[in-house]
């Protein structure tokens, strides 16, 4: 099976609300995690990353939380805007020691007006 996965394929939130996108990973050797945003017809765009020596990292309107005990990663987006509508992927560097990232299937975030 996949080493990185997401709990919900689609998440719908009201504009202005906060959203939380979750991700579970299974490779305990992974020590670097990234969230990407992908809009239709475009490549994945880097949002935020976190290393395993941290449990929280904040950016502009986004926060990533890492729980290594249960191998769980989440992305929180504050005050969602229409431009936040996209598919969000978590990725980890646990390719059995090889380089490159392993991606989950993605969560489609829909912002309702």
């Amino acid at each position: 099976g996949e080493s990185v996965g997401l709990h919900l394929p689609t998440l719908s939130v009201q504009e202005g609300d906060n959203s939380i996108i979750n991700c579970a990973y299974s490779n305990s050797a992974s020590d670097y995690f990234i969230w990407y945003k992908q809009e239709s017809g475009k490549g994945p765009q880097f949002i935020i990353d976190i290393r395993s020596n941290m449990d929280k990292r904040q950016g502009q309107r986004v926060t990533v939380l890492l729980n290594k005990t249960v191998k769980h990663l989440s992305l929180q987006i504050a005050a969602t805007q229409p431009g936040d509508s996209a598919v969000y992927f978590c990725a980890e560097n646990g390719r059995g020691g090889a380089d490159g990232l392993t991606f989950g299937k993605g969560t489609h975030l829909i912002i309702q007006p």
Binding site: D31, Y32, I34, G43, P44, D99, G100, F103, K105
Partner: protein
């Protein structure tokens, strides 16, 4: 500065034909990656280069797929005897360091359709 550039953006080819997909990484990025993304899925690793050499090609699905990066900058992904199952978006990414330590920066991909 310019991001990762991929050409063509769309490619339609007939089953059995040969195709080449090109990637121009961000200037100065030594690591270059090819991924394949099917509809509704996350990107899947194909191959990565560190400089001119393919450091890991374990993701290439079979020997019809080959990639080169002769001068350590531009890379070409080559697919021989294309099959309908090869239809997907082929993404290229580059990074300043290894993916284990720095994020990958992706291009917008080449959408390959094999008819």
């Amino acid at each position: 500065g310019a991001g990762v550039s991929q050409t063509p953006s769309n490619k339609v080819t007939e089953k059995g034909k040969y195709v080449e997909l090109r990637c121009d990484p961000i200037s100065g990025h030594t690591a270059l990656y090819w991924y394949r993304q099917s509809l509704g899925q996350g990107p899947e690793f194909l191959i990565y280069f560190q400089g001119t050499g393919a450091a890991d090609d374990s993701g290439l699905p079979n020997d019809r797929f080959f990639a080169v990066r002769p001068e350590g900058s531009v890379s070409t992904l080559k697919i021989q005897r294309t099959e309908r199952g090869d239809s997907a978006v082929y993404l290229c990414a580059s990074s300043l360091g290894l993916a284990g330590n720095s994020p990958l920066h992706f291009g917008n991909g080449t959408r390959l359709t094999v008819t």
